[in-house]
């Protein structure tokens, strides 16, 4: 079976203006949301705070839990449903206390007064001090930055600098849009999300490299054609693979999103957004940037492009 006809020739490169506008709008929406909401919505891993996860035997409402906890002086608390379970909730408090254990125990006893003895299961309790939160935030940021730097170096070594630039722009593009989506949908950023970001970076590059690899190969074979035509041909030739791999990856991520449970829900959400955007960007962002870089340098790049094909023999 085939989804993409072998002789397909879509003018991807010609649509780069449109792609640029779409990408620009997506990034702007995300950034606007980030600005309006005063920065990323950090979970307790990064912001510090206390979290208690409780499961009730009956289904209940966040408002009722909040009501039951009102008599405790916890400061401002947030009660939200955990995943899609109608009987499982997260209770979050901004302040951290050394006595988390007694806090979670108090929450449990208080809730049991309202819901009945033995009807409340304390599933998880977390406390992250502000200093640890700050450290984790810094570490997470460093991880993302180093991943991008490392990858830029690798691509520059294996391919050429302009390919590295293309990959870099595409990667930053993907991370920015995913970050924006998190802000837009009010999802919290915590440790596993950093893992998701790095996986997205890896995945998006995976896609970009496969296109770049084909461009490099075609530069040797069809050196007479201009670079835009070579790039376009390469995208078309790899289109079938791009769609199929993105498809299978989306299938598993979707399965994680639906069946994976609350702990992994946001992670799966990040991956869903990231893979869609990563696939789009390897076609519509990375390659145009390579061309743009080329145009800026003038026609001089043409010969350089042809000779550099030997790099793959190492």
């Amino acid at each position: 079976m085939q989804i993409v006809k072998p002789d397909i020739n879509i003018d991807f490169v010609g649509k780069r203006k449109l792609a640029m506008i779409i990408s620009g709008i997506l990034i702007l929406i995300g950034l606007a949301s980030l600005v309006v909401k005063g920065g990323p919505n950090y979970g307790i891993d990064f912001a510090g705070g206390t979290l208690v996860q409780v499961k009730f035997q009956e289904t209940t409402k966040a408002a009722r839990i909040k009501d039951a906890l009102k008599q405790l002086d916890l400061g401002s608390i947030i009660v939200q449903q955990f995943g899609d379970q109608p009987n499982e909730f997260l209770i979050k408090a901004q302040n951290t206390s050394d006595e988390l254990e007694s806090l979670s125990q108090t929450v449990k006893t208080t809730l049991e007064k309202s819901y009945g003895e033995g009807k409340v299961d304390l599933r998880r309790a977390e406390m992250v001090g502000p200093q640890v939160g700050k450290d984790l935030r810094q570490k997470g940021l460093m991880a993302v930055v180093w991943a991008i730097v490392g990858i830029l170096i690798y691509i520059t070594w294996r391919f050429e600098f302009r390919f590295g630039m293309g990959a870099l722009v595409a990667t930053v593009h993907d991370v920015l849009i995913t970050l924006g989506a998190f802000s837009l949908f009010n999802k919290e950023i915590d440790l596993p999300i950093i893992a998701a970001f790095l996986a997205i970076i890896g995945y998006s590059l995976n896609d970009t490299i496969i296109v770049c690899d084909r461009i490099r190969e075609n530069m040797g074979k069809h050196s007479k054609d201009g670079l835009p035509s070579i790039v376009n041909r390469s995208i078309n030739e790899t289109l079938s693979r791009t769609i199929l791999t993105s498809g299978t990856t989306l299938l598993v991520v979707f399965s994680l999103f639906v069946f994976g449970g609350g702990v992994i829900h946001n992670f799966a959400f990040a991956m869903l957004v990231g893979i869609l955007i990563g696939t789009y960007s390897s076609i519509f962002v990375a390659s145009p940037v390579i061309l743009l870089w080329e145009e800026r340098k003038g026609k001089g790049g043409q010969t350089a492009a042809a000779t550099s094909g030997g790099g793959k023999n190492r």
Partner: protein, 532 residues
Amino acid sequence: MSKSLKMRGLFVLLCVVVALVSLAPTFAKDALPDWWADSFDPIHLGLDLQGGMHLVLGVEVDKAVESRLDSIVDQTEALLRDKDIIYKRVSRTSDDRLAITVYDQEAGGQVDALMQDNFPNLEALTLTDSGGYIQKNYRLSDKEIASIKDYAVRQALETLRNRVDQFGVSEPVLQRQSNNRILIQLPGINDPQRAISLLGKTARLEFKMVAEDVDPQEAVKGKLPPGTQLLYEKRVDRRSGTTTEVPVVVYDKTVMTGDLLSDAQVRIDSRFNEPYVAIDFNSVGAKRFDQVTAANVGKRMAIILDDTVYSAPVIRERISGGSAQISGSFTEQEATDLAIVLRAGSLPAPVKILENRTVGPSLGRDSIEQGALSALVGAILVILAMVFYYRWSGLVANMALVLNLFFILAMLSLFKATLTMPGIAGIVLTLGMAVDANVLIFERIREELRIGKPARTALDAGFAKAFVTIIDANVTTLLAALILFQFGTGPVKGFAVTLSVGIIASLFTAIFVSRVIFDYFLDRRQVKRLSI
């Protein structure tokens, strides 16, 4: 060719056998002979999957520096008295400084010599003249401060390890981290509250004489004579369960500390059926206790743990056996825990809980179920998609995929890696991405077939051309995973591990194993046309 095919086939078989052997204890531990189960551990589950407690404690090292200075102050005073040097005051002036005030130049010189001899680690500072007195200032050198802090953290780690060992947790993890932090992981504990109180206690045991001539009620109002301090004794009423705090005034001077203990055990008082902790001193401690009790018969001695008075009994007679008892109103568990912390020794400085994550076992079980379900559904979807798209070749890719999953789990078991919830997500993600290598190969083969090459040539060309691309594409993801491993903590590290292992396994299965299967059909079965 055919001989090499046999070798390659055998190699794949060998890998499968190794994987089976190493995975068997994970899935059927009880059915296996002991030697088997003993030599291969089951896959180790992270705290988020098996339940347990993850703690980061911060050692307040500045307090260790302060208390070191305080003890230097005490020693200096003793030395000055010994040498008959007349001084006005010795005191700690800030976190890292102390000052000795004397009346004249001669005493100043004696102090200098004395300090030089006894505390070479102290740096003398410039003199400050204060109203006719001479004030000698000293500070701890930066190197000394660093070494005190370092020692405090090492000592704390040692003490905490002792406590955890006595608490009885299987496979605890205790590690020193940067910034004076100590990481503690206690898998599967069912009483987190008790663990916290056991680990968080400084457990500084002190014996001080009660200042009988001071009225505690006056002291509460703030009238505290110099050289004494106000502490509280906690008393729990057995019947009503209410706690009352009784003020007790004691002299600052510590007559003995818990350092001189050799053992602590829980005993039950037969009269009131109440538990108490019996302590034994070592030989130095026993001698000291003997002297102290002999000199203070008829007076009250307060037994103080972390600035709380446990009891303040009257010394009825000289105690020379080297043992004493701490009674208070404890429950049996409190007494047991007190004995544990006393045996394990005190922390050199207080610790603060910086991070605490406790997962109950029920959540972990749910996570495993949900993770397994999503892996199963994801795998089935991918398998269907591959067969649908590539027919028989898709089936080859699917065999590679199933083997891949199998190898990932086997490698986790062999490398003793820890499986966490994000780790499961990593495996599921790998399932989707693992077919990529096969897709790349198959697309290449299709291209070669399209330009009219026969099956054999197309297959060879497809594998050869796709190889470089596959390597380049996977190195980047591997790079991201390694960086994540470097920066990540706990569960996230688990994701980095499964992602890396998954990539390596998928390279092997997609490039090597599926090639063997193709070669088998083309060479042995004489298949002429590829179903792709």
